[in-house]
């Protein structure tokens, strides 16, 4: 196999063949390349398993300020011994001569039995000809030398003293060729590059994977003839519940399922006629005292259906296909399968085409476009639709049927009080569930962790 090499790589390989172990600095000299070129070249060769980089540490030592002084004038304990050469001396005289180094020198000399002190008379006892540290001091002198050359035992007595020894740790690299590099043939042709080499990873900027799924679903429904409407996430209970025939004492309206906004009530919730007719429908069918103050309580919408029904109550269309898409909220404990805030799409069909089979057909078409073909429909119950169905889709990975979108026809008890006279087919469901299938996630929280590792590496799903 012939490999193409960059000029830099060729020069490094050639140089290493002449001189098998080199530091980057010697390579710079031998190849006439810049430090940066050498660094890059070594890295390329290393990634191709052609060069081996061995890192090592070495130390040099030199003398500090006090070390140099002692080198020039002798160690303090040497000065003490010199003073005693001429015979015993008084402690107080020695103290005067030596100044502040007297204490430590005297201590050291007595501990080692170099001197003897009887009452206040100090005399020489048994000193070695060369004191510990003197050999090292003389060896280093005013130079910088490798630590390897020093007797470490002798050095240790100096290391404890302040500003005597300066140690520099130098990291060095040694580059050599790997076995596979030895047989490589370097061609002379220039201008070619190694197109087989690994390249560094760069991170793309992108839209959020969940947003991609949201956009995809939005576009599918637009191509099916639906138009998008937007609405608020904060809604009065009137539009979130009452207008959808959910009685005020229904368990779904309790604090433990729905987020109520603290001390916030809507002033205007609907037209007087809407309020009157909705309340009458509740009183007649659910038999309780409907309370407008309950309807004024502001909630975080529990579904996007409130947006759609409000739109229908305002426009009362004879024919329409509309949808709304956005965040909805449930007061749940966050877990791998539940979020307090998630996205929902919800749409309606109004008009002569509005039949249950057509609604099923729209669902089937939608699932087909997101790649789900094994589906079936089961009856279910929603407070505001009748008949009501749910789609079950088969998940190959889990080996079971899972529930996706719900659908049904708005009850006359919902539509009539709001002046909507045509049948309204509605469908909808959570988006994260579909996105989890697409991105093969087991934990729905991943979508909102904004973990860069995941965002930067997840493949787009089309």
């Amino acid at each position: 196999m012939s490999q193409v090499f960059h000029e830099i790589e060729k020069k490094i390989i050639t140089s290493l063949r002449d001189n098998p172990k080199q530091s980057p600095e010697t390579l710079e000299k031998s190849t006439q390349l810049s430090p940066d070129q050498i660094r890059r070249g070594i890295e390329w060769l290393r990634l191709k398993d052609l060069a081996v980089v061995t890192e090592s540490k070495s130390s040099t030592i030199s003398l500090g300020k006090n070390g140099i002084e002692s080198f020039q004038k002798g160690l303090p304990e040497r000065k003490l011994l010199d003073l005693l050469k001429s015979g015993p001396k008084k402690l107080s005289d020695l103290q005067k001569e030596l100044g502040f180094v007297f204490g430590p020198s005297m201590g050291l000399a007595r501990k080692n039995n170099w001197v003897e002190a009887i009452s206040d008379q100090v005399s020489i006892k048994n000193p070695p000809s060369e004191l510990p540290g003197e050999k090292t001091l003389n060896l280093i002198g005013e130079n910088k030398i490798s630590k390897d050359k020093v007797d470490l035992n002798d050095l240790s007595s100096l290391l404890k003293r302040p500003d005597f020894i300066i140690e520099d740790i130098i990291k060095s690299k040694e580059i050599s060729l790997s076995d596979s590099a030895k047989s490589i043939i370097l061609s002379d042709s220039s201008g070619e590059i190694d197109v087989e080499a690994k390249v560094p990873e760069i991170f793309v900027a992108r839209t959020h994977p969940l947003k991609d799924t949201i956009d995809e679903i939005r576009e599918i429904f637009v191509t099916l003839g639906f138009s998008e409407i937007l609405g608020n996430m904060t809604q009065s209970s009137f539009w979130n519940f009452d207008s959808l025939f959910t009685p005020q004492d229904h368990p779904a309206r309790e604090l433990q399922d729905t987020f109520y906004l603290e001390k916030i009530n809507a002033k205007k919730i609907g037209t007087p006629e809407q309020i009157r007719k909705v309340s009458e429908s509740h009183k007649k069918n659910w038999r309780y005292q409907w309370d407008i103050n309950e309807a004024r309580k502001m909630v975080l919408r529990t579904h996007t259906t409130c947006v759609t029904i409000k739109h229908l109550a305002e426009t009362k269309p004879d024919e329409a296909r509309i949808f709304s898409l956005g965040r909805v909220f449930r007061n749940e404990k966050v877990s791998y399968k539940h979020l307090v805030e998630f996205n929902q799409i919800e749409g309606v069909v109004v008009g002569k085409d509005a039949s249950l089979r057509n609604l099923m057909g729209i669902q089937r078409e939608f699932y087909k476009r997101i790649g789900i073909t094994k589906i079936k429909f089961w009856p279910t119950f929603f407070p505001y639709t009748e008949p009501s169905l749910q789609t079950m889709v088969y998940n190959e990975k889990l080996g079971k049927w899972i529930e996706l979108f719900g659908m049904g026809i708005f009850r006359p008890e919902v539509t009539k009080p709001l002046g909507i006279n045509k049948p309204v087919l509605a469908w909808g469901g959570g988006i994260e569930r579909i996105a989890m299938l697409k991105y093969d996630l087991d934990d729905v929280r991943e979508f909102y962790n904004n973990n860069l590792d995941w965002l930067r590496s997840t493949t787009k799903c089309q």
Binding site: F226, T380, F447
Partner: protein
């Protein structure tokens, strides 16, 4: 959704000639979800609008219909009797004004039946009884009671031995010391008098809606039952009674009526009702072309009776099907009886032209521009925490919007700004490669009539050379390319940003947001080790257009 546990073998006995597989395949088409199975046992989720499915007896009726084993309406056969009078005192009218009841005789009760009846009672209490507030049931051993009964009130020092107790307790003790007392005592308010059912010998039968007396406990030796339902309105109490009566009759009991009088009370009617539905409405809604006889046979499979009268189908509905309000409910009954699996999905050519909302289009275009500038999109919750929104970033928290009783500490207030969430994102990614550049567009909330929702746009850049100039260039280009607008910046100070590196973003002389270098103390709070610059502007007021 409530769940009921059943056994396949018991269901097979109740339904008739049927295999386990047929049952399992048919259950979903009654609207019942199989939650889990373990050999003979199966747990089934049913809809709260069908309390008759709270026992295997009720589910068996539904299965018989769909499988064609027995179809048509289940008629209640109630023998008229004078032996069971109940008198009602007017004192109950202020607390729990209505009582109704029925007698069920000569049934066999095994452990499983007792368990089914108890679950049914609990589910009825929770669902249509609205946690016993609207109506509640007591089921008693008839032979332990001497009629006539009296439904009256008593004071809180009245004593009797309640269910599951060995000694006498006063009403007050029951309310403070027992679990049911604690759970439901509040339904009685502060009233000094509480409702009570006494028998001929002044023996306590029941203390509605809290607990029965121990003496009438139903066991496997019980043969005859007395069922009472009390409530705040007559219709709801009778609805609940009709479910229990139907289930008991299906379980093999013979029903006998009770006589009720006094304080606007009367014996339950348990009447069937009739609703007409036009066959063309059925066919239009379902998208089918069914003949009248097919419609009638489908309704019968849903355990209703029906006959044709011209184009109209006249349906007879048993009293326990009070979930049926009008014609549209009958359309569903036809669909169920016909079989949802037999409805073939169709697609009709759409006559409407679909359109993405202009706001969505503009936001998507902004996303694309930001990606071109090298920014990654982030998504954060709009319901966030005080810590993220205010504490970590030194922001003013005086106009906070909180939700009540959140189950999650991380989700308690609505965001009024996006940038703090992005900072939080950076802090969770300090081990990832820099530069880190992120943006988000989303809804922010402020207190205003009562709440205003606006769309904000925020971006953030973190790396060792991040600086004001870089982030201003980004915002300037994004707005120029995205919307063709030019912004200016004017020096201001803000606690989130570093002094001298912070400016107000101005569009046509109006401030629309803020830009700058994040204050080093905040960066430290988040343990981020590189400088961070960012901006946040409002798009709603002057940038996004509602119509293109």
């Amino acid at each position: 959704m409530p769940v009921v546990e059943l056994s396949y073998s018991r269901l097979q006995k109740l339904v008739g000639k049927v295999t386990k597989k047929q049952i399992a395949d048919t259950l979903p088409f009654l609207g019942l979800d199989i939650e889990s199975e373990n050999k003979d046992l199966v747990r089934i989720e049913y809809s709260p609008n069908r309390p008759d499915y709270s026992t295997d007896f009720g589910i068996a009726l539904g299965l018989q219909g769909l499988l064609g084993i027995k179809t048509g309406l289940v008629k209640l056969n109630v023998k008229k009797s004078n032996k069971y009078p109940i008198g009602v005192k007017s004192t109950v009218s202020k607390i729990r004004p209505f009582v109704t009841g029925i007698v069920a005789k000569n049934g066999k009760i095994d452990d499983k039946t007792i368990k089914q009846l108890m679950t049914m009672q609990e589910d009825l209490h929770f669902g249509i009884g609205r946690k016993r507030k609207k109506s509640s049931i007591g089921i008693h051993d008839l032979d332990k009671i001497s009629f006539p009964l009296i439904y009256t009130t008593t004071s809180r020092d009245h004593k009797f031995i309640p269910l599951n107790s060995e000694k006498e307790l006063t009403i007050s003790e029951i309310l403070t010391n027992t679990d049911v007392g604690k759970d439901y005592g509040s339904l009685l308010g502060q009233s000094s008098k509480v409702p009570l059912i006494l028998d001929e010998n002044e023996k306590t039968v029941s203390f509605p809606p809290i607990i029965n007396a121990a003496v009438t406990t139903v066991t496997t030796k019980t043969k005859n039952l007395f069922v009472e339902v009390t409530g705040i309105n007559k219709e709801d109490a009778e609805d609940m009674l009709s479910v229990v009566a139907t289930i008991l009759q299906t379980a093999g009991f013979s029903l006998e009526s009770v006589k009720i009088s006094g304080a606007k009370n009367s014996a339950p009617k348990l009447e069937q009702k009739k609703i007409s539905v036009n066959s063309s409405l059925i066919n239009q809604i379902l998208g089918l072309n069914l003949t009248t006889s097919k419609i009638i046979s489908s309704l019968k499979k849903s355990r209703l009776d029906a006959s044709s009268k011209g184009a109209n189908i006249v349906c007879t509905i048993p009293p326990y099907r009070f979930d049926i309000f009008g014609p549209m409910d009958l359309v569903e009954e036809v669909a169920l009886g016909y079989g949802i699996q037999n409805l073939e999905p169709t697609i009709s050519p759409s006559q409407t032209i679909g359109q993405i909302n202009p706001i969505s289009i503009q936001l998507k275009s902004l996303d694309q521009t930001m990606i071109g500038l090298g920014f990654l999109e982030s998504l954060n919750s709009s319901l966030t925490s005080k810590r993220v929104l205010y504490e970590m970033t030194n922001r003013d928290s005086s106009k906070i919007i909180s939700v009540l009783d959140s189950k999650s500490q991380e989700h308690t207030i609505l965001r009024d700004s996006i940038l703090p969430g992005l900072l939080e994102n950076l802090s969770r990614n300090i081990h990832e490669t820099y530069p880190q550049k992120m943006f988000e567009t989303g809804t922010v909330f402020t207190l205003e009539n009562p709440i205003s929702e606006k769309i904000n746009f925020s971006g953030i850049s973190a790396h060792k050379d991040a600086n004001f100039t870089e982030i201003k260039s980004v915002l300037q280009s994004a707005l120029k390319i995205g919307f063709g607008i030019n912004i200016e910046t004017k020096t201001i100070t803000n606690p989130t940003f570093e002094e001298g590196h912070c400016a107000s973003v101005i569009l046509d002389k109006i401030p629309i947001g803020i830009i700058g270098k994040i204050d080093s103390k905040i960066i430290e709070n988040y343990k981020i080790r590189v400088p961070v610059v960012g901006f946040e502007i409002s798009l709603s007021e002057s940038i996004l257009k509602n119509q293109k």
